[in-house]
């Protein structure tokens, strides 16, 4: 086994990106993700890359659009209010099909909110906080190691589909340290990007990075192309992790930090004989709806555990489509649910139910 080192989640976002071949970072300070730009400002010069502290989040996302459109692996990171400011830019990037990676280390909202971890930016990430019918691919890591691994996948997937990828975490994942193994990706090579706007050198035909469709047919065609791509992504890119779902009566659906807390709570409940499992979506879009539908058909019931007023639960309900129960346990922004609370919620869910065997 390669050497384990301790790393902060935020540093993992940064180093993970660099290991994935990202050489352009454009960002703006905001807690709790400041270690990402700070790390980048130190590391990028070392690897021949570029770090710019943009004048704002709006500028940062548009710099990413520029660099990504010019063929570079580029990224930005921010936290909730800063991500809100990027919505116009994200909609442009998705439409112009510029690959790039956007990290949101979410914090308590809404408004200025606080600095505590949060999962209340789920809707914004998966339904489209910007205008129009577009999708980002959304990855939700659950550990520092997974941050590193998913940053690589994020850049690869972005290039593969010419689509922005968001890596959505919360302040806890950004701030915590865990042992990780850093590796150099053997297959690291940035694909040719003949579509990129790099100059009409040597007779290359004109490339235009663009999201304008003034004529209605042009715009509708643009949308049809995007929607077709989204269907392909939904087919191919769903990721999730299951733990103990086979014999489970109740399945906790949770991602990121709440999946970790749920894991501990499930262990506690299992120790008391409750048949509980964990379903952890790793892609929030495309959402693992098909698999959840299967589990619902198989008679399992569900509970989402979220650090929000209940957002992912809508996607779970849409997947389950009335075939099974979907409960909710959450803490509104500002608090992380404790293992004890989640354990109690699980126990309560079993109360008064006839025992399956």
């Amino acid at each position: 086994m390669a050497e384990r080192i301790m790393m902060k989640g935020n540093e993992a976002f940064a180093e993970g990106a660099i290991k994935a071949g990202c050489r352009f970072f454009f960002g703006y300070p905001i807690t709790p993700q400041n270690e990402i730009p700070e790390y980048m400002s130190r590391r990028m010069p070392e690897v021949g890359g570029t770090f710019i502290q943009a004048e704002s989040e709006v500028s940062a996302i548009n710099m990413v659009y520029g660099a990504g459109g010019a063929g570079a692996r580029a990224m930005t990171s921010s936290s909730s209010p800063g991500i809100s400011l990027k919505q116009e830019g994200i909609s442009y990037i998705a439409t112009a099909e510029v690959p790039c990676v956007i990290v949101n280390v979410a914090r308590g909202g809404p408004g200025l909110g606080g600095l505590t971890p949060s999962q209340a930016d789920y809707f914004q990430a998966v339904k489209g906080g910007g205008h129009g019918d577009y999708h980002m691919i959304v990855f939700a890591p659950g550990s520092v190691q997974e941050i590193i691994d998913l940053m690589y996948e994020a850049f690869v997937t972005a290039d593969k589909y010419r689509n922005p990828v968001m890596v959505l975490a919360d302040g806890l994942l950004g701030q915590m340290m865990e042992p990780v193994v850093l590796r150099d990706w053997e297959d690291l090579q940035i694909p040719e990007k003949p579509w990129a706007s790099t100059g009409m050198v040597a007779g290359k035909p004109q490339s235009v990075i663009n999201s304008l469709g003034l004529a209605p047919e042009e715009l509708e065609n643009m949308n049809i192309r995007l929607q077709n791509k989204y269907r392909t992504i939904e087919e191919n890119e769903v990721r999730y992790e299951e733990d103990g779902v086979e014999d489970a009566e109740l399945i906790i659906v949770a991602y990121g930090t709440s999946a970790r807390v749920s894991k501990s709570a499930i262990n506690k409940a299992r120790a008391e004989g409750k048949k509980v499992g964990l379903f952890r979506p790793i892609t929030l879009w495309p959402f693992p709806s098909k698999r959840l539908a299967e589990l619902a058909e198989a008679g399992k019931r569900f509970m989402t555990v979220e650090m929000s007023a209940g957002q992912m639960i809508e996607d779970v309900k849409l997947a389950v489509n009335g075939k099974s129960e979907v409960e909710f346990y959450g803490r509104y922004n500002g608090a992380i649910p404790s293992v004890t609370e989640v354990y109690q919620a699980i126990m309560k869910s079993f109360e008064g139910r006839e025992v399956h065997k």
Binding site: I52, V58, Y65, G66, A67, A70, A74, Y92, T198
Partner: protein, 249 residues
Amino acid sequence: MKQVFGYPESLQNRPNHYCPGCTHGIIHRLVAEAIDELQVREKTIAVAPVGCAVLAYNYFNCDAQQAAHGRAPAVATGIKRALPDRIVFTYQGDGDLASIGMAEIVHAANRGENITVIFVNNAIYGMTGGQMAPTTLPGQKTTTSPYGRDTATTGYPIQVCEMLNTLKAPAFIARVSVHDPKNVMKAKEAIKKAFEYQVNGKGFSLVEVLSTCPTNWGMTPVEALKWLENNMVPVFPLGTFRSLEEVSK
């Protein structure tokens, strides 16, 4: 007989969508001529704004990105940092650059980004149908200053060159006009110089070009040129504000 004036290579050979007599067309040609003369067409990447010039990529014969309203300098920054040996320019209107895009232009200038900005100031929002711009003249009637721009509540036209000239990094800043052939030639010189600064790696260059909007000014194109000369030039004095060190030709 020799051709002494023809169609520049850096301009795509197709009609433009600008209104009759709109000087956007002249400015496009000047940019194309400058690119031709510096022989950098293949290396050039244009950044189109949101404004009447939104379709600029259909006219310039080079690669291009279309930027969100006001963000062209940020987009250009991204491109130039990714491809430092390419020539990157933005083409922006006064609403785009001086209103919504104020932070972006100030900071790109302040970073000394090695890009060229062609700033087309027609004292109005052309594309959206003639609303007030930050550069609209005192008393000028527009669709959102129907009683004439009131300086007491909306202030005065922003002088972008003068403002950016307070920054240390920019290499070249000039204001020109296209209201007659003589000024068109001067404008051409300034635009070419701006690109030369970039080619020579000197940093940020910007040329503000005073331009007309006959449609939304409610004038004939010829009247519009006169109005520009008589009303805009006094408010936006022509000249070179910054010329960091002469570029080697």
